[in-house]
Structure formats: structure tokens, C-alpha cells
Amino acid sequence: MTTIREKGYHHWDGQFKENFRPSWPIMRAGIKLAFQRKKFKPLFAASFIPAFAYAAGIYISERLEDFKSMGSGLEKFLQINPAFFKSYLTLDFTYFMILLLMSVGGAGLIADDFRHKAIQLYFARPLEKKDYLLGKAGVVAFFVGCLTLLPALILFILKLLFSGSFRLLVEYPWLILSIILFSALVMLFFTAFVLLCSSLTNNRNQAIALMFSLYFLSSILSGVLFLIFRSPYALLLSLKVNLDQVAAGFFLVKPSHDLPWYLSFLVLLAFAAFSYFLVRKKVRSVEVIK
């Protein structure tokens, strides 16, 4: 260790920012830390495979004559309509990759701060609990948005470019809004989900286990209850089914299950609200603000 006072102490003559948003540096640091973690970058890159496949699908759909050799029925399969975007935004693979990415870069967002007692460092600064939570939420929302909203919008633009017309826009003027709103819901859900799991423990491995078990067990449990009671309402327990149902509602597609989509929407909103209150309470217990 070097000796103390290699350089002297000088007072800082700068000015503090006036319209200062502390959540922004928290979000930026969280994103930077996620990218620094081992295996995050290749996982992140691999998460875009479906987006490239769908982009290729859009390209082929506009050049069906050139791709006849690939087989018949291609035309039916590659209809670019709301169902196409719904299927992209509810892909099991994408959700699994979101979970995988968040297990590497998101599980420790709050858990690590608990473990290393960093919460007091944050709250010794001029920031409030909402700034802290907003910053942490921004990290998850950023990555989920990168895998849902961003590619879906690019796919939409690609369709317009490849077709050379605004037919899609004219036929489905609400589609762009559906893409944005459903992506926002997916971002909200996964943000609440990841932060909830991260705040329930001070061990990131436990948070990872919690994330996977909660997500998949909800589907298993709802499936078992469905088999026992033969009631579609049992499927409301499944997080994935709820996302699928809401997507069907948002994209005006026939839902896979005989359930009103708005019930699933309410379940997801209730889950997000419950997570928010629990996370807020967990952070409060450390911050000790009365």
C-alpha cells in the first residue's frame, strides 16, 4: 500500500447539478456491471437469434417467389400480421433468455447491495428510495426492452421497408401501439419480478434460484391444478400463460385459453403492485427511515 498523502487535498470548486436525477447513474452503473459479468455478452448476443430469424421471415415473406424451393405452405406461415408480432413477443425462448440474462446481470441488483451493506452508501447521498428503485428498475427494463420492444419495432420497420408500402400500417393502424404497450407490460412484469426476487435475499444465487423456480413452478402448479379441476381459471396462476393471454388481447388474436384476457392483465398488474410494495418494504427495513 502506498503512503498516505501522495497528493494533497484540494477543495472542489465545481457546482452540483441543479436538475439532478440520481436514478440515471444507478441505472447506468447497473447496465455497465451487467456487461462486465462473465458470459453476459455472449448470452445477450444469443438472445437476438429469434429477432434475426423473424427478420429473415419478413424478408422471405416479401420474396416468396424466390424462396419457392423451401417448400409449400411458406406463404401461410409467413403472414406478417398482428399474430406474427404477438408470436415474437411471447416466444418462450425470449422469456427464457430474459431470465438467463437477469440471472447473470439482474439477480444481484438489490441482493448484492444488501449483502455488502451498500444501501447505506446510497442513502447517505441526496437520493430517495424511489430514485434508488427507479435506477435499479431501469437496468432490468433496459435489457427486457432490448429483447422485446426494440426488435419488435425494428421488425415492424423492416416490414415497411421490404414491402415498400405502408399496407401494414393502413391495415393495422393500432399495431404499433399494441407493440409498444405489450412490450411495456413485459418490461414492467419482468422488472417487478427480478427486483422482487433480488430483494428477498442477500444472496444472488438464492435470488437466481427464486427467479427460475417462481417462473416455472407457477406454470407447473397451474397445469396440475388445471388437470385436477378442469377449470381454465387455474391457468391464471401461470405467469407465462398470463403473458400469452394479455398478448392475445393486445394484438386482437384469439387467446390460447378460454379465459378473458383482462383477467390475466389484472393478475399481472396485481403481481407488479405486490412486488413494488414488497421491494419498497424490504429496502425500507435497511434504510431505517421512520
Binding site: 487535498y9 465545481g14 447539478k17 455488502h116
Partner: protein
């Protein structure tokens, strides 16, 4: 100091954790300089620091830190105050310079200036060469210095240091104490140092606040407190001590006998020292040496808090 706001001004602060009363009418007026916050475990030191930082809202009472209200201007307080917590705390995955700059940014500093300043303070606390290392790989002593760096990065006017020398080896402890002493005396930053290591406080602080059971047991300049609270005399005597001890203890004095047979007598401030000679004469003790002595902070603390 006339015209400048007090560094700390608290008026009858009460705070309870449920049924447990942590602070019971704490009032303080402190201008600046280096202030030691002393007290046994559970005396309310940490609670008081948390109230001054705005982490806790007092049940009753009011107060200002650097002129900012502790109930309504917590953000301004935290921008002007640097806090070095007692716990070993850091953000894993960051190197020291990113960590320090990040916390500077969270204080409201522009990003580039926070980064520049982070380099400066890391050199200042002796982590210049290790500033690009991950904080996860730091030793306890280095993390202690890092905590000081993050408390200094936004150039606070007042520093709250909670047990700053814990986890340090003797030389590291000495270096940190010198650094804190310099910050307080030369750099013009007021320091409130909470510690249970009395010699640390005695080495740095010119003022002390002693808390006991949630109340201010004593506060003021260290020199004055020693004079006001008690006087100390050292004696060498020949003869039986028991009766002499009983008589003086009945007059609110405290007697201690050292290994080399020196009797230390702590007397109340208004106690007439001639009483010691009279008591010695009554108990047929021969006084062979009588020296008014310097008192230590340890003795003051023991006296005020009422422990041996």
C-alpha cells in the same frame, strides 16, 4: 465563527425504537472543528448520526445541520455532509475509482468532475496506486480508506465518521488518524468522529459529546470538561488506606490505586483539596507526595458515564 451557521444544532431530540427509548431530549450546539462523539454501546450514538443525516425522523424536537433542517432538508444535508459508515460496505464489481466517482455522481456532481475528483481523493487517502483494482479484492484496511475517500469525494463541509479506525493495523490506524486530523485542522472540514477508542478521539478532537442512555452526559471542549467535571490528584501515602478511602468516597470522591502504589483521587470540581490532607491526618496517614495531575479522556468518560 460569528454569523456562520452552527455545524450542528439540536434541540431536545427524542427518538424511540418502539418501546425502547434511544434518545431522550438530546440538545447540542456545535460550531465546527473536530468533535468526538462518545458513549457506551446503546448510548444512542448511531441513532443520533442517523437522525442528523435524515435517515430517521425524530419523535420530538428539532435540529439543523449546517443550517439545514433535519426534518425537511435531508437532501441538502446529505449533499453537504460526508458519511463514513462503520460497516464494511462497498459495491462489488466496481474498481475503486469508478466506485468513488459513482458515489460522487450520486451526490450530484457532474460525471466528469466526479471522476477527476475520485482520482484526487483516492491519492489523498493512499489508494492512488490501487485505484484501478476491483474493490472486492481490497483488504479490510484498504476498504476503510476507500470509505473515507467516498465520504470526501463531493468535498463535504462536515464529515460524519463512524468508527473510522476499526479493522486497521496500528500503522494504518495512525495514518488515518493523521489524515482525519489534517482534514479537520488544515482543510477546514468539520469532523464528527464517533468512536469507542478513546485515544483516537483524544488524539484528534478538541470537543467531545458524551452520550449515555440517550442523553448528553457531557459536552464541550475537552480541556474544559476535564476541568469542570472533576480534578485529579495523585498521592503517595504511608499507612492504612481503608478509613481514608471511605471518608473521601462519602464526599463524592473516587479513589484508585495503581500498581506502583500511587493513589489517584478524582474529586468533584468544587472540592477543597485541603480536605484530602485533613482526612489523611484523621486516619493517621503520612502523605509523602501530592501532585495535581492531568486527567485523561478515559478517566473523564468513566466518570461521566459512571463506569470503572
Amino acid at each position: 465563527m460569528v454569523g456562520e451557521p452552527m455545524s450542528i444544532e439540536l434541540d431536545r431530540i427524542h427518538f424511540s425504537y418502539g418501546q425502547v427509548k434511544a434518545l431522550n431530549g438530546v440538545s447540542l450546539r456545535i460550531h465546527g472543528g473536530a468533535i468526538g462523539l462518545l458513549g457506551p454501546n446503546g448510548a444512542g450514538k448511531s441513532t443520533l448520526l442517523k437522525i442528523m443525516l435524515g435517515f430517521l425522523a425524530p419523535d420530538q424536537g428539532s435540529g439543523k445541520v449546517l443550517g439545514y433542517d433535519i426534518k425537511s432538508e435531508q437532501k441538502l444535508i446529505r449533499q453537504a455532509v460526508g458519511y463514513m459508515p462503520e460497516d464494511e460496505c462497498y459495491i462489488p464489481g466496481l474498481d475503486a475509482v469508478s466506485f468513488t466517482a459513482y458515489l460522487g455522481e450520486l451526490s450530484g456532481m457532474p460525471r466528469q468532475e466526479a471522476m477527476k475528483r475520485a482520482h484526487e481523493v483516492l491519492f489523498y487517502v493512499g489508494l492512488g496506486e490501487a485505484r484501478y483494482r476491483l474493490v472486492d479484492t481490497y483488504s479490510s484496511g484498504m476498504r476503510q480508506r476507500l470509505k473515507l475517500a467516498q465520504a470526501l469525494v463531493h468535498d463535504p463541509k462536515l464529515l460524519f465518521l463512524d468508527e473510522p479506525t476499526s479493522n486497521l493495523d496500528p500503522s494504518g490506524r495512525q495514518e488515518i488518524l493523521e489524515l482525519i486530523g489534517e482534514i479537520a485542522s488544515v482543510r477546514g472540514i468539520s469532523v464528527l468522529l464517533s468512536s469507542h477508542i478513546l485515544s483516537d478521539i483524544e488524539a484528534i478532537c478538541d470537543q467531545v459529546v458524551i452520550l449515555n442512555r440517550g442523553e448528553v452526559a457531557a459536552s464541550g471542549s475537552l480541556a474544559d470538561l476535564k476541568m469542570v467535571n472533576y480534578r485529579l490528584y495523585e498521592l503517595k501515602v504511608k499507612g492504612e488506606l481503608d478509613g481514608f478511602r471511605r471518608e473521601l468516597e462519602a464526599k463524592a470522591c473516587r479513589l484508585e490505586e495503581t500498581e506502583d502504589k500511587i493513589i489517584k483521587i478524582f474529586t468533584p470540581p468544587d472540592f477543597d483539596s485541603m480536605e484530602i490532607f485533613r482526612a489523611a491526618a484523621r486516619h493517621k496517614l503520612q502523605v509523602r507526595q501530592f501532585v495535581p495531575s492531568q486527567t485523561s479522556l478515559e478517566e473523564l468518560f468513566a466518570r461521566v458515564v459512571g463506569v470503572d
